[in-house]
Symmetry: C2
Subunit: 542 residues, 2 copies
Amino acid sequence: MASMADETGLGKRAANYVPLTPLSHLNRARDIFGNLDALVYGPTRRTYRELHNRTTRLAGGLAGLGVRPGDVVSTVCPNIPAIAEAHFGVPACGAVLNTINTRLDPDTLAYILVHGEAKVAIADTQFLPVVREAITMMDGTGPTIIEAEDPDAGFPASGEFQTYEDLVAHGDPAFEWIMPDDEWDSLALNYTSGTTGRPKGVVCHHRGAYLMTLGTAISWEIGTRPKFLTIVPLFHCNGWCHTWMMPLLGGQITCCRDITARAVFNAIADEKITHMGGAPIVYNTLINAKSEDRREFNHQVYGLTAGAAPSPATIKGAEALGFRFMQVYGLTETYGHVTAAYEPEHWKSLDAEERYNLMARIGVRYPMMEDIEVVCTDTRQPVPHDGQTMGEVIIRGNCVMKGYYKDESASNKAFSSGYLRSGDIAVREPDGYIRITDRMKDIIISGGENISSVEIENVLMAHPAVSLCAVVARPDPKWGEVPCAFLELKEGATAEKAEVIAFVRQRLAGFKTPRHVVFQELPKTSTGKIQKFELRKTAKAL
Amino acid sequence: MASMADETGLGKRAANYVPLTPLSHLNRARDIFGNLDALVYGPTRRTYRELHNRTTRLAGGLAGLGVRPGDVVSTVCPNIPAIAEAHFGVPACGAVLNTINTRLDPDTLAYILVHGEAKVAIADTQFLPVVREAITMMDGTGPTIIEAEDPDAGFPASGEFQTYEDLVAHGDPAFEWIMPDDEWDSLALNYTSGTTGRPKGVVCHHRGAYLMTLGTAISWEIGTRPKFLTIVPLFHCNGWCHTWMMPLLGGQITCCRDITARAVFNAIADEKITHMGGAPIVYNTLINAKSEDRREFNHQVYGLTAGAAPSPATIKGAEALGFRFMQVYGLTETYGHVTAAYEPEHWKSLDAEERYNLMARIGVRYPMMEDIEVVCTDTRQPVPHDGQTMGEVIIRGNCVMKGYYKDESASNKAFSSGYLRSGDIAVREPDGYIRITDRMKDIIISGGENISSVEIENVLMAHPAVSLCAVVARPDPKWGEVPCAFLELKEGATAEKAEVIAFVRQRLAGFKTPRHVVFQELPKTSTGKIQKFELRKTAKAL
C-alpha cells in the first residue's frame, strides 16, 4: 500500500467498508423498491418486500438443515422461482450456490454432488428421477433433497421429500443474513459442461458478481425498472448474473420454465418484457415460429445474444421482430459477458449486410474488466489489428473466477501469463473490435492452413434452405483435415449436397469449401450450443 | 473469510483481482472511446486518446519533480482543464490529489499546504497572489509551484514559475502509470470549508471513487456519451466525482471557469450539455438571468442540485427552462451525493406544489451505499416514519471517507456507532423519504421547541419579492432563541418588514415566525452555500 505521511485512524471501519455482494442490492430494493414486482411466474407475483422476506426464510430454513457458511447448496431446476430465490437465499445463509444443469446424466450429476460436497440439493419434481438415480450411485447418503414442486406445469409434489414451499414457510422470518466477511468469499460454484472429461467447477466470488451487475447495467444502458425474462438457464453462469442485477434496478424477473416460441412471445406481450438474453438459436426459434405461437408487441425489447456469433439472418430477423439486438461474449469463467458488440452511431448508416457483419464481432469491454487482448498463441504478444492474424483471447479483470474447485493444476494452467486464457481464437480488426473465429479445438487445419469453422457456417446460414448448421474437421489422408458440414433444413425446404457445396464455393476459397455435407438434426447442449464433439465422431465415421 | 472445504489455488491473482480505481476508466476510454471528445474548454478540444496521453505526461512530469507514491499534489484552480487533468495525472503517478478552494485566505491556504505536506501545487495564474502570500507565511520553501496559465481568460503566464503546459510537454510520454497496489490507497485529500476552527482534511480512496462513478451512472440513468458541464467546483468534493465518471461513459467534460448565467447558457446551447450539477443558487441565477445572457435550447438537460433543499420556485423555474431536475444529498465525507429525490411515476400526476414539496426530500440511496438512516440523537434508534420526529442522518457504505487526515480523534467521533454521523437533522416521512430539516447547529430552539430554519426559508422563498434568504437563531432573553430572517430581494423589488412577517405568519405557527427581518446581501461560500455563522454574528449584534 502506498501510504500517506500519516495513515493513523484511516483504516477500514464498519462505517466505510462493506464487502461487495449482490445481497446488498436486495436489502436496498426492499427499502426503496419494496412495492414493485420482483418475481413473476404464471399467476405468482412477488414484490421486493416479499422476495426479501422469502429470502430470509429460505436462508433460515437452510441454516436449520445444518447448512453452514462455506457449505454448498445445489439446485437441479429449470428457470422457476425457486432457483431465482436460491440466488439470494443460499448466500444469505453464507452458503455457496451450485446450480446444476438439469440435462445431465445421473453419473455426471453424482460426480458434481460428490465433488462439490453439496449439503442440500433443491430439485425440481420433473428432475427427481435423475437425482434419485444419481444418489444411488454415490457413497453415503448424499445431500438432503428439497423438492421444488410445480403443479401448474404438471409436476405436483411427489410426497417423498420436504418441499421447497414448506422449507420457506417454516424458515425463521427473523433469520439474520450472513453477509460475507470478505468479498472474496465464494458465492457460486458452476460446473462447466465440459465436452471431454469431467466438468470443472468454476468458483465465483461476491465481489465479481456485484461488479458484474453494475457494469452490465451501465453498458447495456438499462435504466431503472426493466422487465427481464429468464431465458438463459440460471444453471448456466447464473443466467449471466442478471438475477442478481434486477434488485439493483428495481427490475422484474419473469421466470420461463420451458423456452418455446409461444412462451417467449406470451411473456413479451403480457409482461411487457424489455430485456432478455439467449443464444442465437433462441432468436431463430422466434424468427421461425409458427403463426399460432406468435404474439404482436409494440415496445422495444433489448436482446443480448452470446454463445455463438449471430448470423446476418438472425440479426435481421430479430430486428424485424422488434429486438434491439447486441452480441456479447464471455465464459462461465468470467461470470458471463465481458465484452460487447456495442454499436457506434455510424454503423447505423451502413449497408445492412455490412452492418450485420460488424455486429457479429465484439470488442467494447465491460467497465469492470481491465483488459481483453488477442495474443499470438506462440509469442503471447498482441496480434496486429489486421483482421487476419489469429490469436487467443485472454482476459484480465475483476469478473474473472477465483479458479477451478479442487483443481489447482487446471487453475494454474488457465491463469498462466497473468490473464485468463479463453481457449477462443480470434482476430483483431483495424477498429479494435474482435472477431471470434473459433474455439481453439474447433479450428480446422487443412493442408497447413487454419480454417475457421465459423466462417464457413456463416456462409451456410445464408443459404435459403438452411435453418441451422455446424462445420467440423474430418480427418483426411491427403489434407490432414477437411471441412465437413452438418445441416438442419427449414421446415418444408429441400437442398442437394452438390448445390450446397457450389453455394459455398461461390463465396469462399476452395480449401474452405466443405468436402462433405450431412443433413441431420444437430446435437445441442441445454443452452443451445451445438455439440461439435458429437459431430466430429459422426464425421470421422462417415 | 467463510471458506469452502478446499480453497487451494483460489486466491487472488493478477488475472482476477485488480484494485478498483477510476484510473481504469481512462485506460478503457482510450481503448474504446479514443476518438471521442473528452475535454472541452473554449477552443480547446481533447479526445480520450489525447487526454490519456496528457495524463501520462503529467504523471511523468510530476514524478520528475520528485513526487512519490503517497505524496500530496495540490491545486489552486477554478474549473479549467488543468484541474480536470490533475484528477487523472496526479493519481497516475501514485500521488494524492488535494484540490484547494480558490477563495481561501492566505492563512488558511498556508495551513492546508503545511498540514497536507504538498510537494507540488498547481496554481492558476489568477490565484498566484494568494498562493505567494501563503508561502511567505510558511516555514521552509513550501511546495514547488506549477503555474496554470489561462491567457484567453485574461491570465497569461507570469514567467515566474514553470507552467503547467511546459510540465505536460516535457513529461515522459512513456511513463508507466502507478496503479494503486491496494484500492484503499488514498486518492484525494479534500479540506472541508469548516465554519469554525481549522478545516479538516477528508481522505478518500480509489475504491470509493470507482464505486461512486458506477453508482452515479446507474442512479442518474445517464447512458453513454453524456455531455457534462463542470459547475460544482472541482475543488469541492472533486466536483462530486463526475470528472472520474466521464471516461466510464465516453462522456465529454466541458470546463467552465466562471459560473455566470451567460457562460452556462452558452455551454448548454453550444455544447449541447446534457448533464450538470449545482447548488440551488446556480439554478436561481439561470432562472433570474437577464434576457441578453439567455440562450434557447431544445434538448433535455439533467440537472442535479445539492447543498440545500431546492425551493418550489427553484424547481418550477428550472423545469420551465428545460431541466429535468433532481435533488441529491451528501457530504464531502461521502464523496458527494449518496441519496437522491428519485421521482416515482405517481408524483408526476400530483398537484405541482405537492410535487415540488416531495422533490425537496431525498431518500433513494445510491447503490454503493449500504444504509442511510435517521436516528434519535439521544437513543441512536431509528426515528419513526412520521414526518415529525427529528433525528440525525447517519450513513454507512463504501463511499464514506477513510477519515480525517492527521486527526484520529475527529475520525473516531465522526465514526462513533459504526456509521458516519452527518450532523444533519431530518425527519423520515411515511413513504421512507428523508426531509433534511437543518444542520444540527442551525436548529433554532425557541421556548423549548425545535424550529427548522429551512421550513421558514421555504415560506420566505415563496414571497414574490424574495430572491434569496436565510433564517438563523437570535439569542432572546425570554424564548432562549427566536428566528431572524435575512433577505436578498429581486432586482427592482421592494418589501416591508411587517408585511414579510405577516406573510410568514399566515403560513406558519406563531413561534416559527421571524421576530426580526434584515434586508442585505447574504455572505456565501465558493460553492454558493450561505454562511450562517456570519449571519448569526450579525443577528446577535442587532
